[in-house]
């Protein structure tokens, strides 16, 4: 009986959502062109970026992007924190929440000596994992990293940008981690290194946004206007910083997630 009443309520709520959203989804007026026309004429001139999406993302509406990177940063640290407290699926060394369960000495040892690894005998018997994967990902990793950096630095000219480049870099890092054998020590897949890159990039991002104020050009104003001949200089700079931050953050998150159970 109770089950039935609840289902009726579910139907009512779905119906009311439909009623509210139907006119919105069916709206058929012509798309407003004011912003597009402005950007088509002045977008490149104002920002220096040929890719207008990049121009908006890191120029006209860069404050949104700052918010977005903060969401990412908070989500990564929060996710790791929550998982750690839950008894952890995290790879060793990925416990960076504020309440260290390990002593400082132990932590130091872990941070220094252990890198993430899934190789060999430590894996579960049913893990879908072959040597083919190891070899291919290990070779592919650096190539993907390179592609990530390309996307980052050419974001103002072609599709891509700091964020996309960062995510691709992160997948490169994951490839490196998957291809990692026991004993191999690639600094890029160490928790402490990724953590530091992310922290430093975040600090740089905040400083970059502040620099406009210090130069008298306003919040997120372009401080490089008179310094460099490349009009998109500031966008390239931001792309690089955001790419590093996103790459390190997402790489950190993913490696922590696919790590092995400590318990």
């Amino acid at each position: 009986m109770k089950q039935k009443a609840i289902n009726v309520l579910t139907i009512i709520s779905l119906a009311s959502v439909t009623l509210v959203l139907l006119p919105l989804f069916l709206e058929n007026s012509p798309w407003p062109l004011s912003a597009r026309n402005y950007l088509e004429l002045h977008g490149v001139g104002d920002s220096g970026a040929i890719n207008l999406v990049s121009a908006i993302y890191l120029g006209f509406r860069v404050f949104d992007t700052l918010g977005e990177t903060i969401v990412l940063l908070t989500a990564v640290s929060g996710t790791i924190g929550v998982l750690t407290r839950a008894g952890a699926v995290l790879a060793e060394g990925y416990d960076t929440s504020g309440t260290p369960a390990l002593t400082e000495q132990e932590k130091k040892v872990i941070m220094d000596d252990h890198t993430f690894t899934l190789a060999g005998e430590k894996r579960r018997s049913h893990a879908l994992r072959t040597h083919l994967l190891e070899v291919v990902t290990g070779v592919l990793g650096p190539v993907v990293l390179l592609f990530g950096f390309y996307l980052m630095l050419y974001g103002h000219l072609s599709p891509g940008g700091g964020f996309q480049g960062g995510v691709v870099t992160a997948s490169g890092i994951i490839f490196l981690a998957l291809g990692n054998r026991i004993g191999a020590k690639n600094p890029l897949i160490r928790a402490s290194v990724l953590d530091r890159i992310e922290a430093a990039a975040f600090l740089l991002l905040i400083l970059a946004s502040l620099s406009g104020i210090l130069m008298g050009r306003g919040f997120f104003g372009n401080p490089l206007q008179d310094v460099t001949a490349i009009p998109a200089g500031y966008i390239i700079l931001l792309n690089g910083i955001i790419g590093l931050k996103v790459g390190a953050g997402i790489g950190f998150l993913c490696i922590a997630m696919v790590g092995r159970e400590i318990s």
Binding site: Y57, V89, P159, V167, V258
Partner: protein, 78 residues
């Protein structure tokens, strides 16, 4: 073309929610992401396509799989 892709995505979405196996759901989710990346590419939005492919199909799949790997795959409820 657009309509075909959307119908496919709709079907996958339904499958995602009714399938008993969460892993299949995750695969369906990443397929939806890939299809929408294709859609964005066709709709002259290459930047969004790259992001959707990298973030939606890549990162979120890894995160989902990372979570259910240590819990359970089956949805026990009808």
């Amino acid at each position: 073309m657009t309509i075909m892709l959307l119908v496919l995505m709709l079907g996958l979405s339904i499958f995602m929610l009714v399938s008993r196996d969460l892993l299949f759901g995750i695969i369906a989710l990443s397929a939806v992401s890939l299809l929408s990346a294709l859609l964005f590419y066709l709709q002259q939005a290459p930047d969004v396509a790259i992001t959707e492919a990298a973030v939606g199909a890549g990162v979120s799949t890894v995160v989902f799989i990372g979570i259910i790997r240590y819990t359970e795959r089956k949805d026990r409820d009808p």
